[in-house]
Symmetry: C2
Subunit: 587 residues, 2 copies
């Protein structure tokens, strides 16, 4: 028996018990007549105290050879500490050892195993097995475990069944790029890894499964941006015999349950915001609603006063930063630089301060007198002490830029506390979006999303005006989940593929099985998928999903710990019937 | 709202409530003045009763157009049935509809959606979404869901953490063949899909995670035998600071819990049987212990009596089939044919009947008189009425053949009831087995399995004699799980790789990260993995794992429903930098 207790559980109530604990040496302090060893495991730290004159010499000499991260097993008596610590839960006791067994040595770790480590990102990833010994990383993964098990139990309680869908499926070109897997038995043919279990969960609904969920790995071979992983995890869900309202209520209840259970937070009923509203007032389909600072359209108010920037702009938008009238010239310059960055691309920023004394001062006083500025104040509902920030230009770009500026101001004003949570539904998304590059309509969610029944007549005439029965759950400006009511009718699905530029033959080749399934009594159905990595990072109060994945890949899709991907043997290639194209041509 | 209740929940207690239910038309009976519709969903069947003269004409005419598997939503009042049925839980009530809404039509399904369907295997797989509408298949998948959630909650209660390990990993040639995934970003390099999360779970132990589990997909690109799937699911577990006994007790408690919770069965403490014992008495390392009929070695008893078959045999083995002395000539001939089949390969079967009157009659009476036969009786502890079945020949082959014969006799004598469960641990496996083909030692479990400390000295001298700290859980002759205590010392791991024919460079290339990890304070650890598909099928009382997988592949690794694997576009191949080798050479 290598342990009777963990390093986190002994208390005064265990006094005088003989116990065995095992773990890693966090540190050793040697004062000559006394040696203290802090022994650590996943559950905590326990102090071992050695009075060198009252104990077997071999224990003392072993204790003096111990280095950091050595693994030992200690048997001894639980004793009350002379000087207690209230910093750790075991701080009232110590172990007086009868024996210490060295289980394994450790060479010096490449970084310190402490909450604040001296290891950089690259080093931590290369030695991830040491990084996860650190409390913050372990706690993230414990949170993830807890989120998963609570999600499962909640959905199980609602009669949802977890069904495993296949990982080796079929490549479909719609959407992102697939990872593919050569088949050895069927040479020249390939499996693909699923970008989501979308079609399978729909088939489960056709199959009468009614309420499905799965916490499931999905795969996308995309050019990796920061904080994207080629493999990621979804809470994937689908329900039959539902309308949009049923889905929203069910998954609102899941998220409320998780907040209550994991964070002890009561989430109020989720606001429903239309896509159109979100774009108009936040310039963004995933608005951060922890703070207001919504857009005010000043276009008609400011035009015709001789200021060319406004007069030539398609739109003039303002946000009101409460209490920021005292921003210094330097701060304003920083904001100007912020909006002029190439990623945002504005030519400048106009501001107007509403001073405490009631006066107004703008960067365009040459064109707008006090009376005009007070019109701005009224339009934006600004108050004394507020700062108005104004952008002008082409509509789409200006809205996008203002969204960025709003978030920046939210951060600067401390309105984006990671421990405050604002959840909402964004609904009524457009069904389609035009893609200039391919000169065709693309599905905004995916090709299986149902148009709103009342908008179906517009499919032939104004496809861009058709709204979908689609919804996103947004928390703190992050899209944590999205879904839709699905098409469950073969003709409508065929029409949708046609709009998306599929030939009838392509539609049948790729999704024939689904369209056939719709002929055998497909029920109305819909669902949602949550990005589980992202949801965990949000609950953990962090920005980076990588910290919530045990063994993540870097931004080149590489696992630097195991050094993968890697070359394989010629024999393996031969068996698969594939040859490497060594021209290095990536196209 | 498409339903207020399911088709399985209405009772007399709901009398006179107005409800809405939705589902599939299981059948319609039209008696002119009365039409009954059986409406089915996942939860049950509810009868809709239409008195044609007392109801709106449009409901009647719609009802008369309904075919099997049409999808409808019915609103109406819960009413007490005139003639009640005790065959279904809703048999005391019926719905008198106010309205019926046709949600979707169905063309005629290719097979009947009934418990006993007329559909063959191929057809059922092609239309799996219809097959899973049938109760038996749905119940299998419900069982699987229940097994998974109970497993998770049990392990969570023991402080196990579920940690997701990566799916895109690195190819390693030891073990079965990997599925590989070409990397587009790192052309010429490949990921591999995991055959198990073995190295990652060991790294989690090095990382202090202590108690890990995961219900996880694994992948093997093997030539598929019947009932093997290229992707399968494991309950994968690992513990640190444990010895073999800790692991056995922990996972014995898991399986006992599942039997109790799912099947209502109390499992007695599991027997521990050594590999040597299992091979000696059952000729098999996964003995079916639902019945005895163990091997009796008659070699020394029967030699030297002039019967050449025995005299030239390396071993002569007998099993005693209780109460089978009355087997007919025809039955004995069937058994003889059974052992002569090429898969078993015996030249013949010798028998001896012990009649009720105390006499003995054998097929080799020419060589053995009654006195000799009574010696056999004593040696095998046979009783009057029993039948002795004897095989002779080369030892390994004869044990194997006798194992098959024993199972066959168990089946014939009704000793292998699918609702009886006999669980045991097989322990003390050999560490290595010699492979004639490769002329080297192979790991019997895997290269990370620890030898028994007392056998380590034999590694250099008699590797074949070294026993491993490895164990299998066997239920009803099926290996449902297996595991081991792992090597956690770099030198011993290197020694093991050397024994397995790895060059030091190969060992470092493939498992360098693990051996490096062992230098930073690796704790003693060990674990187990259960075949989840198999465990579910066993609990479900079925032989075929495919019935417990929602969307299985056939014996050619093909998903006939979605038609995968399939060809991919030239563009995809180009992006990945691979070319098909069209010579069709599979080697």
């Amino acid at each position: 028996m290598l342990r009777t207790h963990t390093c986190g559980e002994l208390r005064l109530s265990h006094l005088n018990q003989t116990v065995t604990i095992s773990g890693w040496v966090q540190g050793v302090r040697d004062k000559g007549s006394l040696i203290w060893i802090d022994l650590r495991d996943r559950y905590g730290i326990t102090q071992i105290t050695i009075e060198t004159e009252n104990i077997a010499a071999d224990i003392v000499s072993l204790a003096r050879t111990l280095g950091r991260e050595y693994v030992i097993s200690v048997s001894g008596k639980v004793s009350e500490r002379y000087s207690k610590s209230d910093k750790i839960p075991t701080g009232e006791i110590e172990i007086i050892p009868d024996s210490i067994r060295l289980l394994n040595k450790s060479i010096t770790p490449p970084f310190t195993i402490e909450d604040d480590t001296d290891g950089g990102d690259d080093l931590r990833m290369r030695y991830r097995y040491l990084d996860i010994r650190r409390n913050p990383v372990r706690k993230n993964l414990e949170l993830r475990h807890r989120m998963a098990i609570e999600t499962r139990n909640f959905l199980d309680g609602l009669n949802f069944l977890e069904v495993e869908t296949p990982v080796l499926i079929k490549s479909t070109p719609e959407g992102a790029r697939d990872f593919i897997v050569p088949s050895r038995i069927n040479q020249g043919e390939f499996y693909a890894l699923p970008q989501s279990p979308q079609t399978f969960k729909q088939l489960l609904m056709v199959g009468g499964f009614d309420r499905y969920y799965q916490i499931v790995k999905c795969f996308r071979d995309e050019d990796l941006r920061a904080d994207r992983q080629p493999e990621f995890t979804q809470i994937d869900c689908e329900m039959a015999f539902v309308e949009q309202e049923d889905v929203l209520q069910t998954f609102e209840s899941l998220v409320s349950y998780l907040f209550k259970k994991i964070k002890g937070i009561e989430v109020p009923t989720l606001q429903r915001m239309t896509y159109a509203h979100a774009m108009q007032y936040y310039g963004n389909d995933k608005p951060d609603t922890r703070f207001d600072m919504t857009f005010c359209d000043l276009t008609s108010t400011v035009k015709g006063k001789g200021f060319k920037v406004f007069d030539e702009a398609q739109i003039v938008l303002a946000i009101c930063a409460k209490g920021a009238a005292n921003y210094t010239r330097k701060q304003i310059d920083e904001l100007t630089d912020f909006v002029k960055r190439p990623q945002i691309g504005c030519t400048g920023l106009i501001y107007c301060r509403f001073e405490a004394n009631g006066s107004a001062k703008s960067s365009v006083d040459k064109f707008f007198n006090e009376e005009e500025l007070l019109k701005w104040k009224a339009a934006t509902r600004a108050e004394a002490g507020d700062l108005l920030l104004i952008l002008a230009g082409e509509e789409t770009r200006t809205r996008k830029a203002m969204s960025e500026l709003r978030l920046e101001m939210g951060t600067r004003l401390g309105l984006r506390d990671k421990n405050t949570f604002s959840c909402l539904w964004v609904i009524d998304f457009p069904l389609l979006e035009w893609n200039d590059e391919t000169s065709r309509w693309h599905a905004m969610h995916h090709p299986f999303t149902s148009p709103k029944p009342e908008d179906i007549p517009l499919l032939n005439t104004q496809p861009g005006q058709v709204r979908a029965n689609a919804y996103d759950m947004v928390i703190n400006g992050v899209e944590v989940g999205g879904g839709s009511i699905r098409i469950f009718n073969k003709e409508l699905q065929a029409k949708m593929f046609e709009l998306l530029g599929f030939s009838p033959q392509e539609a049948v080749n790729q999704f024939g099985f689904l369209m056939n399934a719709f002929e055998y009594g497909a029920p109305p159905h819909g669902g949602i998928a949550f990005g589980f990595d992202r949801l965990c990072s949000l609950f953990g109060g962090a920005d980076v999903i990588r910290d919530f994945i045990a063994f993540p890949k870097n931004n080149s899709g590489r696992d630097v710990m195991i050094d993968s991907p890697s070359v394989i043997s010629q024999e393996q290639l031969n068996e698969l019937g594939i040859v490497l194209n060594n021209t290095g041509n990536k196209d």
